[in-house]
Symmetry: C2
Subunit: 223 residues, 2 copies
Amino acid sequence: MKPKAVILLSGGLDSAVALYIAKKKGYDCHCLVFDYGQRHRIEIERAGFIAKRARAKLHVLKISLPWKGSSLTDKRGTIPSGRTIREIKNGGIPSTYVPSRNTIFLSMAGSLAEAIRARAIFIGAHCEDSSGYPDCRKDYLETFRKVINLGTRAGIDNTLTLKFPLIDKSKAGIIRVGKRLGVPFELTWSCYKGGKTPCHRCDSCILRAKGFREAGIKDPLLN
Amino acid sequence: MKPKAVILLSGGLDSAVALYIAKKKGYDCHCLVFDYGQRHRIEIERAGFIAKRARAKLHVLKISLPWKGSSLTDKRGTIPSGRTIREIKNGGIPSTYVPSRNTIFLSMAGSLAEAIRARAIFIGAHCEDSSGYPDCRKDYLETFRKVINLGTRAGIDNTLTLKFPLIDKSKAGIIRVGKRLGVPFELTWSCYKGGKTPCHRCDSCILRAKGFREAGIKDPLLN
């Protein structure tokens, strides 16, 4: 029987690549998707398509955080638009940052992993070419790995660990890996806004476009 | 204006003492209570009474974890009963362990803390005289403190930290501190079972009784 893994799947490009890496490594993949009131709810639908394509199981978990604090969930906020790569890189933590999001997601993933006796949790976070979110950095993820090692039964038994295979990669590097693994990029969704087509102006659209350009691959979403 | 703190309140004795410590230290206290399908739902009601008595704010958050794995939430499981203190201490992680519970609670507390700009999060966990839960140990909590320092905007800005003032105390020591601070022990609830009166046989009842006995204080719940 294949060992199980929990994959944090967002419907975006990075987590889809993380899923295909886990699949390639021979895991029985259980995708965990959160419905947390994000504007870009199309992500949830896309995550379902991606999981289905990968023949992975899908768990959708609704979390209601009754407090606000991010332009990604609070419609009164403004999503940064039209920034240059330099502005994105030097702009510090953007308004789209959702307080403790990855910590909440990882803690739930840890709980699911223990319940189904998974051997690994995969997260597609990366710090190169990212938007400056503190909870996507390597030292943060290494510390959270220790939290799992110390704070769960499975971690103590050495039967569960956290994996972040994309952490040191650029967006272009991630796209190249995904291409090699057959990731269905046409199903992924990166835009932060809630529209039917990508806005091409939010940080996420801009970083995606740069990644495909640098990888020398055409983004199938643009066809 | 007083600095704000988020207090993880369970309705039990330890977290009530943590709340009164935070109050004594001059914080504007925001209590966070979780409704996660626990058998002893009376805890949630008691948490409300305790917060009111302490003139603290109360946030109740419902979390639905669609997976099982603990006798505390899964009615098919059996709660250990009638164990001796030695059996409790040497029995390893008990069946009442809820996978990743404190990690989930702390991650939500971190999110609330950032949203309301709190300066501290208080958790009443302790390892002396506890039931062997991995997520109540000092090294676990020290590591989670690092997760907050690294993974949140407020942590990076050095304006938020995690406090666990009871970690090295025995149950008797916690009860003595609570007595001094005027904690309303009669409002607290420790029993894991869902009954109207404490069962006196679950691990939590047994550890509570031992604590009061060793502190030389009478448990007002027993009147």
